[in-house]
Subunit: 194 residues, 2 copies
DNA sequence: CATCAATCTTGACAACGAAAAGTATCCACT
DNA sequence: AGTGGATACTTTTCGTTGTCAAGATTGATG
């Protein structure tokens, strides 16, 4: 298995890249370092991804497909608010992927695979919002997506933990953020008196 | 004025960097290119900023101070929802700054100047939320900040325009996003029947 | 067992951020 | 007026990075 042909270099490179990005951010990603870790030459990735942008695109596609699956699962098991919480949970659980998925300045946004994967991941959230029966559907979609994306982003870059005094005290921060997201999302639901 | 001493190199570098980041993103920022544009050597910035991280920190501080001013102005002239819209407007008007302000992986987050500037920019938003009189104040803060930050982020990376079919048709996109943010924020206000 | 395409390596290149050491200009003090 | 020192910028060098062209190795197919 350790010969000239790696056998599963594509996945190995993606996994290595995710690990680095999770730890140090995408700016610190060195494909040469990842390759050295795996034990291949510094240009081995080019056959599979073409360029650095290709690696990030593959990561973004993979992340969107993973997110889509999570959201579909949450939609099947619960209601709208669970889909929103699942969005935040995905971001906190897969920070390496999430850090790349929306960085259009680092990606080839015309890649059909990426476009398709993005549509797939967004669909469950939009469907969930529809069940709210809001008067302004577009506004509700934007509000829901905005809240979960904003909370996820702010939590990941540490701003949320730094700014809010009370509930975010390091230990089990992921669970706290999820709970916070749930409380925030519930404000979007029309007060339950029909 | 065009001698050995530039006179205002610090501001010139910041302006040049903002321009590049606005056009091509922070990953494409080359301090050497900025220096060449200005007409100084490629290490001239080190006296003023120390390192590349120093430049980005200065940009983040500047951005937060600008944002704080905008939000204070909106708070003085309007109510909570105007503060939220001003947040989105700032992001769309100053994408170069906004792209750096929350990138903790690129910044020295222990910089006292940055910490102070961040607190200053966040205060008006938190104060505005308080006027809503929500039962769960923390949830309202997170929801409000999350919505405006999420909408701004999604709009800036093009995801919002790509995903929503209706209202975002390129032309005058900034105004459209602002209007959308206002509609989304209004969902956070308890329906006006006391 | 001979090809041949797929996969990985080698070597070279330009661009980048960082660092050390040097040079020019300005300012304060006499 | 002139001089000493601090401030602002330059030059040179270094290690690292992504990219590219060309070559070496392997496994599958006939």
């Amino acid at each position: 298995m350790a010969g000239y042909h790696h056998g599963n270099l594509r996945d190995a490179i993606l996994a290595g890249a995710v690990s680095v990005i999770t730890r140090d951010g995408v700016a610190a990603l060195s494909l040469r370092a990842v390759a050295a870790d795996i034990g291949v030459s510094h240009t081995a990735f080019r056959r599979h991804f073409g360029s650095r942008e290709g690696v990030l695109n593959a990561l973004a596609v993979q992340g969107n497909l993973m997110l889509a699956e999570q959201l579909r699962g949450a939609a099947a098991a619960g209601e709208f608010i669970d889909v929103g919480v699942a969005y935040v949970r995905f971001a906190l659980t897969n920070p390496g992927h999430f850090a790349v998925m929306f960085r259009s300045d680092l990606l080839d946004n015309d890649d059909p695979e990426l476009i398709s994967a993005r549509a797939e991941s967004l669909a469950p959230l939009r469907d969930g919002v529809r069940t709210l029966g809001a008067a302004d559907v577009t506004a509700a979609e934007v509000a829901a997506w905005g809240v979960v994306h904003g909370v996820a982003t702010l939590a990941l870059n540490g701003t949320l933990a730094g700014a809010l005094d009370g509930p975010l005290n390091a230990r089990d921060q992921a669970a706290d953020v999820e709970a916070l997201a749930r409380r925030a999302l519930s404000l979007l639901q029309p007060p339950t008196n029909p």
